[in-house]
């Protein structure tokens, strides 16, 4: 479960012999990703740490049944690499490369739409379904398997927010960096739809920034389609107009694409917007507490089994929590309604796991 990438994901690395490609191929493999092939034209027949290298994506797909590609080639070759992957039958393409011309992306986007191929990026950190697979450049160790879906236009800001979630023992179902360019393959709406339909995801974090109207579009979609709790964050309140803030897409132009507009759009559809990155985790915690209370209220005669199963998502990884949880009565684990504060709730859910372990 999770979205876009899961245990069935078989990755081909385009540009595997380059500096970034080889480094991240190793990192992904170490994380547990099924990196089944690499492609560098002219280096076919060689290998990288047991990963076979091919001259073309088509050959890699034929020989290894790769279904997902990750692109680490220079910007000048990235568009060709995307077309090559799409034409070879790859279903999910993650393009890390930064600096792809926007007018090329207009053609790429419309072509892939016809082909029905999912492109994430370009200029993005990739996608990770924690504990299962990582397709990209994000540091794997800051993530934790769980139930919060994270989607963002940024890289390191996403790490910051994920880091805060994990520190609070709030795990993630899938984290996607959709990229900082004006034209990207996958937008907030695409991710929101998938998260809404994904059974593992219970709540969603949307991390936006100035420029364009993707956040406003997301707000309209949330109102129409999303029933799961959503929390937002918008970067760029202090950004001046008409200046590109690092990302090609992060620019306030013609007075539109400002942070206050986006915050207003989110708040108008009941999505609270955190004032600081750290506050995102607090708001998500509140949403989850409310959600669990609601769920447990529905299941007054709750069966212990599903509750215990769900608590896996809030898996404790420190002894401290287990110790804290220990005094909790077994029955309490299935009655979170009794819990008043937010923190003890996470602990009590953890106690379910602790109890499970003891059994």
């Amino acid at each position: 479960m999770g979205i876009f990438v899961d245990k069935k994901t078989r990755v081909v690395v385009q540009g595997i012999t380059g500096r970034d490609g080889s480094f991240h191929a190793r990192q992904m493999k170490e994380y547990g990703t099924a990196v089944v092939a690499g492609v560098t034209p002219g280096k076919g027949g060689t290998g990288l740490e047991g990963i076979p290298i091919f001259n073309s994506v088509a050959e890699a797909v034929e020989k290894t049944k790769a279904n997902t590609s990750v692109i680490y080639v220079p910007a000048s070759a990235a568009v060709d690499a995307i077309y090559e992957a799409a034409d070879a039958g790859i279903q999910v393409i993650v393009c890390i490369s930064e600096g792809v011309p926007a007018n090329d992306m207009l053609k790429v986007y419309n072509y892939l739409k016809i082909k029905g191929v999912r492109l994430i990026g370009p200029n993005c950190p990739g996608v990770i379904t924690p504990g299962v697979t990582k397709v990209g450049i994000m540091p794997g160790q800051i993530h934790k398997k769980g139930s919060v879906g994270v989607v963002s236009r940024s890289g390191t800001l996403t790490y910051e927010i994920v880091y805060n979630l994990t520190a609070k023992k709030i795990g993630q179902s899938t984290c996607i960096g959709i990229g900082g360019d004006p034209i990207i393959g996958t937008n907030f709406i695409d991710c929101l739809k998938e998260f809404q339909d994904d059974p593992q995801t219970e709540a969603i974090v949307v991390i936006g920034e100035i420029g364009g109207s993707d956040e406003e579009d997301a707000a309209a979609f949330i109102k129409k389609y999303v029933t799961k709790p959503v929390v937002g964050f918008i970067a760029g309140l202090t950004a001046p107009a008409d200046k590109r803030m690092g990302h090609a897409g992060a620019i306030i132009s013609g007075g539109t694409g400002t942070a206050p507009e986006k915050i207003k759009a989110f708040e108008a559809v009941g999505v609270p917007v955190a004032q600081t990155p750290a506050e995102v985790a607090d708001l998500i915690e509140k949403k989850l507490v409310a959600l669990y209370k609601k769920k447990s209220a529905k299941k007054v005669i709750a069966k212990p089994k599903p509750a215990a199963k769900k608590s896996v998502k809030a898996k404790p990884n420190t002894k401290k929590v287990i110790r804290k949880a220990a005094p909790a009565k077994k029955a309490k684990a299935t009655k979170p309604a009794k819990v008043k504060k937010s923190k003890p709730l996470v602990t009590s859910r953890s106690s379910g796991k602790a109890r499970l372990k003891k059994k």
């Binding site: 792809v100 926007a102 207009l106 100035i210 970067a235 200046k243």
Partner: protein, 378 residues
């Protein structure tokens, strides 16, 4: 990248779009000579990267070469919205019987280029869009197919009733679309597209914004970059592979990643400080980039404290720490520096900072609040 009107007109001309003859002058004397050479009444037009030049008095009609001299003398050195005019375009004056508007931008939501035309040219098009949106006709072009002749004709007939004029305008729309795609523009605009009394359709003004990501395949356009004095730090940063935008606050910020950099600026403001800049050192952690970053920030006399907020992924914290230590020993800054390092090689990075006696912070909130306290500004 923004370019000047005269440069945009050169690009238009290379795609076959009719533009009035003109040349650039850096002094009033040159303006007089050019006016004499043209031998007809001319317009003298300020060349700055900002709109509203006409309203600011930066565009003047000159009946004689002497008038061109005096007008150019007034305009060169003029301050238009904070930018100093350093050159003027001297171009033959055109008689006008009608003014229209044509522009092409990327519609980020539709993922298509959108062509906009209006019979209301010559005025602020954003004002037309806000007040009377029905007067702007739009067409989304399928970027794979490109624009078709019939589409250009349809747009032209929205603005012109005379078939001969419409035919010329349709031709210009086709060429403008080609220019937009092939030049890797993010915006092309003709405002106004004029019809002369003799029935000729001409681009009287030209605006082109180029996509920085497309410049690698247009080395000739890279030469069009004109850096204003206040943009020199931005330019130096760009050449060093950094992304920098100067602001007027007092807390210097060095961050890796654009989103985190913006969020850090916002947090400075949230806790009562004012960010002095946006600075993204990018994904690579070359210590020299950090040194350049420090040099640029330290140049700003308003800066009272500098904070580093680094979340290591590809960026290695020890590399950044080495860069900071190097910069500190090189520049001996008088303002306090606080550094937050999290992620890849953070332990090594912190050890380097400790040895260089540079203050550390554990979290993003801590680095921001510490910097503000040290700056004594909140």
């Amino acid at each position: 990248m923004k370019i000047h009107e005269y440069q945009a007109k050169e690009i238009f001309a290379s795609f076959g779009i009719p533009v009035p003859k003109g040349k650039i002058a850096f002094s009033a004397d040159e303006a007089r000579n050019l006016a004499t050479e043209i031998g007809k009444p001319v317009m003298v037009k300020a060349q700055v990267h900002v709109g509203g030049r006409g309203k600011a008095g930066g565009i003047k009609y000159c009946a004689t070469p002497d008038e061109a001299y005096s007008n150019a003398e007034n305009i060169i050195g003029m301050n238009i919205k904070g930018l100093i005019v350093r050159k003027v375009l001297v171009t033959e004056a055109t008689d006008i019987s009608h003014e229209a508007y044509v522009g092409i931008i990327v519609d980020r939501s539709a993922k298509k280029p959108v062509i906009m035309v209006s019979a209301e040219g010559g005025i602020d098009i954003e004002e037309v869009a806000a007040k009377t949106p029905e007067k702007i006709h739009k067409l989304h072009v399928d970027p794979i197919l490109g624009i078709k002749s019939y589409q250009a004709r349809q747009l032209a007939y929205k603005v012109y009733s005379d078939p001969e004029t419409a035919k010329q305008a349709a031709g210009i729309i086709l060429k403008l679309y080609r220019c937009f795609m092939e030049a890797d523009a993010s915006l092309v605009e003709i405002n106004p597209l004029v019809t002369t009394p003799s029935g000729k359709v001409v681009a009287l003004d030209a605006k082109v914004n180029l996509d920085d990501n497309g410049l690698y395949r247009h080395p000739d356009y890279e030469k069009l970059r004109d850096v204003a004095p206040q943009e020199e730090s931005e330019n130096e940063a760009r050449e060093a592979g950094l992304s920098f935008v100067g602001l007027s606050g007092n807390i210097g910020c060095v961050v890796n990643g654009a989103g985190l950099a913006m969020a850090t600026m916002d947090l400075v403001k949230h806790y009562g400080g004012e960010p002095a800049n946006f600075l993204d050192i990018g994904g690579s952690s070359n210590p020299d980039k950090v040194v350049t970053a420090m040099r640029i920030i330290l140049r700003d006399p308003n800066v009272k404290a500098i904070l580093f907020n680094i979340f290591g992924g590809i960026t290695r914290c020890d590399d950044v720490a080495n860069g900071i230590a190097k910069a500190v020993s090189e520049f001996r800054p008088s303002v306090p520096i606080v550094v937050r390092l999290t992620g890849t090689n953070e332990t090594e990075g912190r050890a380097i900072l400790a040895e260089a006696q540079i203050q550390g912070a554990e979290t993003m909130v801590e680095v921001v609040t510490k910097a503000i306290a040290l700056a004594g500004v909140a």
